[in-house]
């Protein structure tokens, strides 16, 4: 089974986000970069599928050279090889442009299944998987919290408001992952894994290698841009409730919620 994982490198979720002086981007100097946690679940599932069905796991990513480090982490977990779309023309592309490039690159790898996170913890665009599937003209199932695959069909559970739905798709298909660290338990890279990962191939691609041009999916093709960033409104400093014991404090809280905040 040929498995492709779409992997985005994002700032660590611990990061404090600061707005840059241009007012529309963030300060990246002191950020620590990680594999987007939802994409890490996809890597884990890819490795399990390979254990079950054989085949290869290719990590497909995009961005500048720093992304290689996160790709190596996925290779150390056990993936076989990587493809990085590293092209200055793709910088500043919107999600539509990135999805076009990813779909073109995925197509060249001739996969049976493409896996990725349902969203990335940086810009929360939440659209890469569905867009890539549309460009590949494949079915997709989103936000999986479980996955079974017999080699010709893939079944997942997907949480919806007030319940969950089970979906099945014929391969080739694309699956996006939701859930949590506790559900997928992505494996850690072993020391031998880290040593081996250093020798695993990572192919660098330009848009032209994918049959695309900057005018189709680069910064010049963008349809939407961020015009400004702002910090969320700061909450006015709160108050610590005083009182002799828990019962008195509970009374004070309920009074406040009723009389001042009008919430009860």
């Amino acid at each position: 089974m040929n498995i492709v994982v779409l992997l985005k490198q994002t700032p660590d979720t611990e990061s404090v986000i600061r707005i840059a002086t241009d007012g529309k981007s963030i300060v990246t100097d002191d950020l620590k970069w990680i594999i987007n946690p939802y994409d890490e679940y996809a890597v884990e599932v890819a490795l399990r599928l390979r254990e079950q069905h054989g085949g290869t796991v290719v990590i497909l990513s995009w961005g500048p050279n720093r992304v290689v480090e996160s790709m190596r982490t996925a290779l150390a977990m056990g993936a076989d090889s990587g493809v990085l779309i590293d092209d200055p023309d793709l910088e500043g592309a919107d999600s539509l442009g990135v999805a076009k490039a990813l779909a073109a690159a995925a197509k060249q790898l001739n996969p049976d299944i493409v896996l990725c996170g349902s969203r990335a913890v940086d810009y929360d665009l939440a659209q890469r998987g569905a867009m890539v599937a549309e460009f590949l003209q494949w079915p997709h199932v989103a936000l999986a919290i479980s996955l079974e695959c017999d080699g010709s069909k893939v079944s997942v559970d997907r949480p919806i408001e007030g319940g969950k739905v089970s979906l099945q798709a014929d391969l080739p298909a694309l699956v996006t992952f939701g859930g949590s660290h506790g559900i997928w338990n992505p494996r850690y890279a072993s020391l031998p894994g880290i040593m081996k990962a250093k020798k695993k191939p990572i192919d660098l691609k330009k848009l032209s290698d994918l049959g695309l041009s900057a005018s189709e999916c680069g910064a010049q093709a963008i349809k939407m841009r961020i015009t400004s960033l702002e910090m969320p409104p700061q909450r006015a400093p709160g108050r610590i409730v005083e009182g002799a014991d828990a019962a008195v404090k509970a009374q004070a809280v309920v009074r406040e919620l009723h009389e001042e905040a009008k919430l009860i």
């Binding site: 867009m131 936000l143 979906l167 660290h181 939407m224 961020i226 960033l229 709160g238 309920v254 919430l263």
Partner: protein
């Protein structure tokens, strides 16, 4: 370009979900600002009979795609149908709910229409006829204003519980046009559905959330939070530590790698307030935090802080809430 605002509604179990009314209400405001009409897509099984009711939220015209095969959302069948309707009504902007299905649908629709999508928006402005949308990024640590290039269609999904619903006008009926778009043979299908019938409120749509963290000490202790939530008509959430410990299902997790919520009232019990959790609940309108540790970071995000043992405070609070409710 464009001659209307188009809203995509969500229909489940024979009714439009509340997020549809929120999206329609926001659509009405934008249509008024642009001086154009508001049309809506009603897709599902049984939408034809209910479509005219969308007039109550300011919709002028509804395109109803009603077919038993459309009972459940599957991207592959929904998207081509909706794309045809959108092309037909040629809108200046498309608005849909940022529900679980809405976010997925919006993304695939955008790719099909070669358009750009802003997900989970909390505000739409159209000063001078230019559409802009504000959305949280980094789970709400920062907010971004997005703007579309001239000539490209904005697609905007609205975060549930944020856009204010119009006061319904039950006498106002929308014009309904039935749409017959041939459905593609889907390669993906729904094979099972489990709905929680306990009446549990969905976290992203809840007005009140009572949330527990590591301080809860074990799964059995969440019963006191359940009871408080019940007395307030709210839902129970959890921090990542409580979910990772296996005390609560992942669907309860609030934070950067969980749900981002924005209730009117958020009560945090035994949650210290890691930066990822604060990102997930920071836009709650009123926050009460209970923690034994007076230095817990959660207090910096709380309107009211209670330094107390939660196991004595929460039951006391529940009792006071019940007392208050019985006298109101």
């Amino acid at each position: 370009m464009g001659n209307c605002v188009c809203v995509i509604t969500e229909f489940r179990g024979g009714n439009f979900r509340r997020v549809s009314a929120e999206a329609a209400s926001e659509g009405r405001r934008i249509a008024d600002a642009l001086g154009c009409s508001l049309c809506a897509v009603a897709i599902g099984s049984g939408t034809g009979a209910k479509a005219a009711d969308l007039g109550a939220y300011g919709v002028d015209k509804v395109y109803a795609a009603d077919d038993p095969l459309l009972e459940y959302y599957v991207a592959e069948t929904y998207v081509p149908v909706i794309a045809e309707i959108v092309k037909k009504c040629d809108p200046s902007v498309v608005i849909l709910p940022a529900s679980v299905d809405g976010k997925d649908l919006g993304a695939r629709l955008a790719a099909r229409l070669d358009a750009s999508l802003a997900q989970d928006c909390i505000q739409i402005s159209c000063e001078g006829g230019t559409i802009k949308a504000k959305r949280p990024i980094f789970a709400g640590k920062t907010l971004a204003w997005c703007q579309w290039e001239a000539g490209s269609l904005p697609i905007i999904s609205c975060r549930p519980n944020v856009m204010e619903c119009l006061v319904p006008m039950p006498d106002k009926k929308a014009e309904v046009e039935k749409v017959d778009v041939p459905l593609p043979a889907p390669r993906a299908k729904v094979i099972g559905l489990e709905l929680d019938t306990s009446g549990k409120v969905e976290l992203t749509e809840a007005g009140v959330i009572v949330s527990g963290g590591r301080g809860m000490k074990g799964p059995e202790n969440f019963a006191i939070l359940e009871e408080l939530a019940r007395s307030l008509g709210g839902a129970v959430g959890a921090s990542r530590s409580a979910v990772d410990a296996g005390w609560r299902p992942h669907s309860d997790q609030i934070g950067q790698t969980g749900k981002v919520v924005n209730p009117n009232l958020y009560i945090a019990a035994g949650i210290s307030g890691a930066i990822q959790h604060l990102a997930g609940m920071g836009s709650s309108k009123f926050v009460v935090a209970v923690n034994k540790d007076p230095d817990a970071p959660i207090f910096s995000k709380a309107d009211l802080g209670v330094v107390e043992d939660l196991f004595t405070f929460i039951p006391a609070l529940t009792e006071e809430v019940k007392k208050m409710k019985s006298t109101c």
